[in-house]
């Protein structure tokens, strides 16, 4: 059993090594081969027991059916055998009674013998004649239809046998009477030691009647034989009286016994037989197996039908299940692959961002220099109050200084966009952050003819939050919206106060919208629609940032109508978020 389990395990491991083998994504060919293996294995696992069960069932049922046919045959045979034995025993005892009931002298008188014979034939049928033979083998008297008185039997073998054994039952023979008969001879010895033999001839047509009483089916046969295999009664299929049975004699058994064999025509038969203990006879009954198993063949047909149907069902189910399994696997593989791609992609993107950010900050250096130069000019002007153009110079220097500040803000904004800064809370005007972020997209929007409608509530309170992170959130959502709307599309950005104690920023687009399924997964990492324009990370990051900032984000969408993203931000930062 353990060995079987081991083998099975090996097969399994072998079959599914595709699954563990490498980190590579499974190619379609490998999926096909994997499916073939799974289907094969599962089918074998399911079909083999079924096959085994069917085979066992087949044999069991067949054996049971066989027994059902054999037993009645055997019983019938032994009953018939009993009838035969009874018949022979009756005749023998009758003859024996006659031999012992009457003294020799009385029997020797033909008149007496004929009287006895007449009485006897009235009680028992089948007796043809009756004769008395003295110890020298001479027929002393005779009652019957043939002139046999005075006939010598001393030389015949049956006579010497009866003289020795006391009784003798002959085989069936034709003799000079020209019909099948047999003889029963009984020797008797009186007180004086004188021996005589009473001999009766019996017409064996009685046997046929006994066999007919078995009322066998037409294709079956029953007959009596002697031990040498000579037919004692006429059979339907295996020859006439005194012909040799074309089937070899079965081993001797006094009990009714049944063997499966073939007859001379090569037909499969059940052969039931029984040897007679008291005489040389054998009773046989033959039933062709074909007819006996007719019901069985019908059952076999049903069984085969069910088996085929079962196997087909198994294959169907296995195939469907494997299909489902493979599909699931494929989906998860694809998702995994997508995740890898997204990570790789995010890295690539960040490398572009790093370059841009690094360069952007290089601009700070010349700006710092200009800052100092302009500052110095202003300082010097402060030292010369008499300079006539002083005011104009100061205005210009201030313009330069102001521009520098603006530049610095731009580079810092760029940084906030290009990479994620450390979370730093400051008092923010959400409208300003939003306007700022929108300014990044103005060019793209203008280029595509997308209208961005701003409905900003100017009375919004300032809140403590992280500028860079919020910009990233707004950018992500707006990027999605821009990707969703067609050229000449429309995006509405609204701000307002919500309950309880939160700011609500909503982004409504009239783009393609999302399906229910997409909507459910939209914040999952690496989720992206197949032809999506998002990075797949964008919205999950957005979700993460909003949660980190203590806010919430909701999305509603209708396919074809557009999508509404709503961001809720707390007016007062949560304790742990603020700390």
């Amino acid at each position: 059993m353990r060995a079987v389990a081991t083998v099975f395990k090996t097969i399994l491991r072998h079959s599914f090594k595709d699954l563990h083998g490498s980190e590579d994504i499974l190619s379609p060919e490998r999926y096909v081969s994997l499916r073939r293996k799974i289907v094969g294995l599962m089918a074998v696992v399911a079909v083999v027991p079924l096959l085994l069960m069917a085979a066992i069932n087949y044999h069991e049922y067949r054996a049971a059916l066989g027994r059902e046919i054999q037993n009645p045959l055997r019983i019938l045979l032994s009953k018939t055998k009993n009838s035969f034995e009874l018949f022979l025993a009756e005749r023998t005892s009758t003859v024996s009674f006659i031999a012992s009931a009457y003294p020799f002298e009385e029997l020797a008188q033909e008149k007496n013998l004929k009287h006895i014979f007449t009485v006897m034939t009235q009680v028992f049928d089948g007796f043809v004649d009756l004769g008395l033979i003295d110890e020298n083998g001479v027929q002393v008297s005779y009652a019957g239809p043939y002139p046999l008185a005075g006939k010598h039997y001393a030389e015949q073998s049956w006579f010497s046998q009866v003289m020795i054994r006391g009784t003798y039952i002959s085989d069936v023979f034709m003799g000079y009477r020209h019909f099948p008969h047999m003889i029963i001879a009984v020797r008797h010895m009186d007180e004086s030691g004188k021996n005589w033999v009473v001999r009766a001839t019996i017409d064996t047509t009685r046997f046929d009647r006994l066999i007919a009483a078995m009322s066998l089916e037409p294709d079956s046969d029953a007959f009596l034989l002697n031990k040498e295999g000579i037919l004692q009664t006429t059979s339907n299929y295996y020859g006439k009286v005194l012909e040799r049975l074309p089937i070899p004699m079965p081993t001797q058994s006094y009990e009714a016994r049944l063997v499966e064999t073939q007859d001379q025509r090569g037909e499969d038969i059940y052969l039931a037989y029984s040897y007679f203990p008291e005489s040389d006879f054998v009773l046989m009954a033959v039933k062709p197996r074909g007819s006996a198993l007719k019901t069985w063949y019908m059952v076999k047909g049903d069984l085969l039908f069910i088996f085929v149907l079962g196997v087909m069902a198994i294959f169907l189910v296995v195939y469907k299940m494997t299909d489902l399994l493979i599909q699931r696997m494929r989906e998860s593989e694809e998702r995994r692959e997508l995740a890898f791609r997204q990570v790789e992609h995010a890295q690539k993107l960040s490398s572009i961002g790093r370059l841009a950010a690094g360069v952007a900050h290089e601009i700070n250096n010349p700006l710092a220099a200009i800052n100092e130069k302009a500052g110095l000019m202003k300082d010097l002007l402060g030292l010369r109050p008499d300079f006539p153009d002083r005011e104009r110079f100061i205005t210009l220097a201030d313009a330069i200084l102001k521009s520098i500040r603006r530049c610095r803000d731009i580079t810092h904004r760029m940084l906030g966009f290009a990479r994620r800064m450390d979370v730093s809370y400051e008092e923010l005007d959400i409208n300003e952050v939003l306007t700022d972020t929108l300014s990044f997209l103005d060019q793209e929007a203008k280029h595509r003819g997308v209208t961005i409608v701003r409905e900003l509530d100017e009375s919004l309170p300032r809140i403590k939050s992280d500028r860079g992170q919020l910009q990233q959130v707004f950018l992500n959502i707006l990027n999605n919206a821009l990707a969703a709307v067609p050229d000449d599309g429309r995006i509405e950005v609204k701000t307002g106060e919500g309950v309880p104690d939160s700011l609500v920023i909503s982004f409504q687009d009239n783009g393609c919208g999302m399906s229910q399924d997409t909507l459910e997964h939209v914040f999952e990492p690496f989720f992206t629609t197949k032809k999506g324009t998002g990075t797949g990370l964008g919205l999950s990051i957005t979700y993460g940032i909003i949660k980190k900032l203590g806010g919430d984000i909701a999305v509603t969408s209708k396919q074809g109508d557009g999508t509404l993203f709503t961001v809720y931000l707390p007016k007062t930062a949560r304790k742990e978020a603020a700390s």
Partner: protein, 234 residues
């Protein structure tokens, strides 16, 4: 091919978005720099006018004491604006690279753009990238989207900046032998420097159209294998 093609396309789209944002920022930057330039220019004009007036008044009106000083300062501001402008312009060009639908890149101009951007970062490590002037033949075109080419060049340059210091790296663009390539020729004295660790994505790069970097002892060669069938779209 389909998957990576889709991936590349996606990457390009994001890069394009990124570019749009950067472009808008640099655009604003240019405007602000222009304001500074104009303000400084006006100051210069006023200074000049005041000098003229002072000369005209024949000494009645006193000249501005810091006239020369201011002239120098204004000139310096002009220079710094120029410098900022160059950077901003480079950044703007970088920002527009992903917009380009081209599947081919002019290697020499890509290399030039990159070094104009990272020149100062390299100078911080006292590394000078010197782009060898071409041998006169037409600039080698490679079958690789400009963004990818630029990122590959950036990858190698960064790896060099990481380990080298105080030396000059000759950069040669060539198309000799088989594929178009960019050679970063290491200085002879740079032998003692720690080995250059190239980005894995460039070393392991395989397949047509993907830039591939190899170390050849005295130089690092970034090869751009031509791809027979360029991925559609982009």
């Amino acid at each position: 091919m389909g998957v990576s093609g889709e991936n590349t396309k996606q990457g390009m789209r994001d890069a394009a978005f990124m570019g749009a944002v950067t472009a808008s920022i640099t655009h604003e930057m240019q405007n602000v720099l222009a304001i500074i330039q104009q303000s400084a220019g006006l100051m210069g004009d006023l200074l000049h006018a005041s000098r003229m007036e002072s000369l005209k008044s024949l000494g009645f009106r006193k000249g501005f004491q810091y006239h020369d000083k201011f002239s120098t300062l204004i000139a310096a501001i002009g220079e710094q604006v120029e410098r900022g402008s160059n950077l901003s312009e480079g950044l703007n060009r970088l920002a527009h690279v992903p917009d380009s639908p081209a599947e081919t890149t002019d290697l020499r101009s890509a290399t030039g753009l990159l070094f104009s951007l990272i020149g100062r970062i390299a100078r911080k490590k006292r590394i000078a990238f010197v782009l060898e002037s071409g041998t006169g033949d037409r600039a080698p075109q490679v079958q690789c989207p400009p963004m990818q080419a630029l990122m590959a060049l950036y990858g190698v340059a960064q790896a060099l900046i990481e380990v080298l210091s105080g030396c000059t790296v000759q950069v040669a663009v060539g198309a000799a032998e088989d594929d178009p390539h960019v050679d970063f020729i290491l200085p002879e004295g740079g032998a003692g420097s720690p080995p250059v660790i190239l980005p894995a994505s460039l070393v392991d790069a395989q397949g047509a159209g993907t830039p591939c970097a190899t170390s050849l002892g005295d130089r690092i060669r970034l090869r751009f294998p031509p791809c027979p069938a360029v991925a559609a779209g982009g």
